[in-house]
């Protein structure tokens, strides 16, 4: 089980900020995880339509979308940050 976290408009589009999922074993990277998530609901599909607007963190560390996710316990997907 992996904990998925969504923030900002990604969270709103998905419809939840958090879900616990069994991820298919062939999801090797954040990007392939996103591909699979997009098939799980209309909300996921809409949230993940534009990959250029997505960022990710694996176990609390910012990573590029082609980063591996093997062994990850928490994966967050969100828009570019806008703090400060």
């Amino acid at each position: 089980m992996v904990r998925l976290l969504y923030f900002a408009w990604v969270r709103e589009a998905v419809g939840t900020g958090e879900e616990l999922l069994d991820i298919p074993p062939d999801c090797a990277t954040v990007e392939s995880l996103i591909d699979w998530l997009a098939t799980t609901s209309e909300g996921h599909r809409a949230a993940f339509a534009d990959r250029a607007r997505l960022r990710a963190a694996v176990d609390g560390a910012f990573v590029p979308l082609d980063a591996p996710i093997e062994g990850a316990r928490e994966i967050a997907i969100f828009p570019p940050v806008t703090g400060g």
Binding site: A76, P80, V81, G83
Partner: protein, 151 residues
């Protein structure tokens, strides 16, 4: 001395400054960011990634402390709903000399804009809109990575 806070409460500038001043520094530089009052925003909401945000801010403060030999660094960021004119963020850097304090302060706020997981949503006349990231922010943050940057 590093202080990091991500809080729903208003930022108490005097209290925060008293902390960094207690380091015995020769100079303290600060930057405060505010909800803009001039573009029709009624409420600004700040969302963050609990735990990871605090860790990112701490790492940023540690990087600044090491690079400029700071005596104290504070990064305080508000989350939740706030009104125009309210303080969103305060960064402060205390150092023996002014150049270090000023540069570290600019570094902290530039990097905070791109390195810490915060998201802003503006509410204008009942309509909410997520703020888009600015390319200028990425450029400002990256400028600190170039070895040849003018100080």
């Amino acid at each position: 001395m590093i202080r990091v806070s991500v809080q729903a409460e208003p930022i108490d500038l005097a209290a925060e400054l008293a902390r960094v001043e207690a380091s015995g520094a020769g100079g303290v530089a600060t930057f405060s960011g505010y909800v803009r009052a001039d573009d029709g925003v009624g409420v600004l909401e700040l969302e963050h990634y609990p735990g990871v945000t605090e860790a990112a801010l701490h790492a940023l403060a540690e990087a600044a402390t090491g690079r400029w030999s700071l005596l104290a660094a504070s990064v305080v960021h508000r989350v939740g709903p706030m009104r125009p004119g309210e303080r969103i963020v305060l960064v402060a850097a205390a150092a023996a000399h002014r150049a270090a304090a000023l540069e570290a302060c600019a570094f902290l706020i530039d990097r905070l804009k791109t390195d810490a997981p915060f998201w802003k949503r503006e509410v204008r006349g009942g309509e909410a809109r997520w703020v888009e990231a600015r390319e200028g922010d990425e450029a400002a943050a990256k400028a600190w990575l170039r070895p040849g940057r003018c100080a």
